[in-house]
Amino acid sequence: MSYTVPEKKNKIKASDMPMILFRVFLVMVFLSAFIAELNPARLSGLINRNVTLFTCATSYSTIGRWFVRSLNQGWIEQPPLTVTYIGALICALAIALVAAAFCLSLGNNKMRRLSITFSWGAAILGAIGTIVLLYAYTLFTDSPSPGRLEPILPMGIWVYLAMFVVLAVYALLLYLKLIKTEAEEQYELEPKYRLFLMILPFLALVLLFAYLPLVGWRYAFFDYTPGIPLAMDDFVGLQWFRFLFNNPAQRAQIVRVMRNTLALSGIGLATSWLPMLFAIFLSELRSVKFKRTVQTLTTIPNYISWVLVYGIAFAIFSTEGFVNWVLLNLGLIERGTNHLMDGSHMWIKMWAWGTWKGLGWGAIIYIASILSIDPQLYEAAMVDGAGRFKRMWHVTIPGLLPTFFVLLLLGISNVLSNGLDQYLVFENHANRTTIEVLDLYIFNLGLASGGSGNIPLSTLIGMLKSVISVTLLFGANRLSKFVRGETII
């Protein structure tokens, strides 16, 4: 007989409210370091509008990069930049203290007192940092040619100053409210907070690398001048949407790219039963050793990258390669050519490479599923006189269909994502029109042209692609739930 923990109600007590608000405030201050618009260190129009305080403080070269020309021309000396960097660094340290204060504020009374001490430290440090930045601003305006440096007093400085003042006052109010600690009280943190703090750094990483890019979708609504690295000029609203759908040349491009994308995905989906067949026939092999060898060797291609696949393709299909040697010796051709430069039948060729790479690997999951089919079913079928193919059709395939169905639905939701690697390596000027799938098109449009790519348009296309993909995934999930009563994600 075990005791049961009574269900605890997570009711927020009114007396906790100030502390909770305090935590929220600390988090807001912390996050402000990652908002480019609030960067207090952007003291000159030359510093990019998208640089955050975090970036300014973590690398000195980030600031220096924008002033290379100004330094060369003698418009500015090194000191203002150094002072700016130091100011940013102090502000960032204050932000780090804010983070620490947040963590401590989750603890018991003694920890909260420490948290308040940290908050004061952060407020003082932050005030110093903003004052240093203000001083750096005067250095900018006093420089030999301020006009060229475009000195600005960023809104961020005042926001930061205000935040740190509020922090100090709030911490003081909390301090007055807190109960005095007893001498023997230990620092203590409830397990739920301790575990939360342990996972927090990883959540920060997820936030930084998986959620923060979503903020970049705003580029689809802005205009951007090539030459100035990623400085946004104007909000243009839906201009790029209109361009994408109304501009005839652009529309023709998209239609071509979508044709390639859907054709390649379509061929892939239409042949997605191949790994299942592969597994079924493989399991019919008698010799275990042979089976194992086949399975081992046919999965090798899955593990080599697409560059290496292209290396192999280059070895075999280029002018001096194996295929030409065979064709020459059969007398089918007179002179070797580079088959990789041949732009015909690209869809089938790409499918063939994908199958070469992925068939053995794709079969593994089915092989494992076959092993889990109840042998009694086979015995029963045999007693009923079912031959080999009848057994495959009536026992094995029904056993594999659930797996097949899940993979098919995932394939459908990935219909727009053919991946970039394969098409990037096989692409050349001869086959570009028929190989360019959506992923490659986005890459070529936005990044490949060496900094002069159309960032807004490629962002927009990528955004539409993501939205459609997620919709398809949820649609597939819904369908799966409806048909099989099971979800796939």
């Binding site: 939360f196 959540l203 026939f281 493989l282 053995g360 593994i364 494992a368 986005i442």
Partner: protein, 308 residues
Amino acid sequence: MTRKTVHKAYFIKRSFGDWVFTLLNGAFFTLFTLLCTFPIYYLFINTISDNRLVQAGLINFFPVGIHFENYISLLGVSELINAAGISVARTVIGTLLMVLASAFVGYLVTQQKMLGRKVIYRFIIITMYFNAGLIPWFLNIMMLGLTNNFLGYIIPAIVAPFNIILVKTYIESLPKELEESAFIDGAGYFTVFRSIILPLCKPILATIAVFGAVGHWNSFVDSIILMGAEPRLYTLQHRLFMYLNMATNLGNLMETTGAIREQDLAAALNGRIISLTVSMVSIVPILMVYPFMQRFFQKGLMLGAVKG
């Protein structure tokens, strides 16, 4: 009597069909296996044979005039040595951090006491199903100062949701008592993680380590996109990509213009041999860890394949 004949007839008929089927089946799989392995063998013999024969395209089934000078000469190409160093460094460091993080996060999300455990788990896992797209991803990494920076290979890859699912599922399959008894003995979360969870999770960690290492070793698109201005940070596969492009384009130039300049020809043919040799060098580490993968992958795949 009748029964016996029927059975016999059935047996004979079946064994003949069986024989044909087995033969055809075996032939198909032999062919496909050859199709998967011959190209790699072909690549290999072309890197160790007499270079003149290789350039004429005459090495097809057996190596002739075996030598290893191609490999030795690669050692003199400093950009390749550098690229190999970068590839090894990112593979080792990146895999190590990824595995440790996956193990730790996988362990933490099994702890029922955690504040907002379910929300946190979903917050991590849902990132598998959406992404902002290539351009925002790139701009984000750039904003964080990780372009043209070695850490750009490492940090974004530390948290791998799929691997976290694998570890979590694995830990949940372990007997709970081990952990509980350690807590009763006064161990903290870190101690339990280090001395109980980590040793018990070795099989699954080995699996994700091997897959992570292969992924790091094989990735080249991130090198192309993120490290554009810093050739010292190019990975081996990125270099290989450049060589292959160069070799293809040079060969094509000669074909289309017809006017063959001697240095072009030399460059193209040399490019061919260099590309093949670098390809081989890049494949070898994968073939070396391959036996380990064979041991682990079925288990790892099955665990994850059940759900997304």
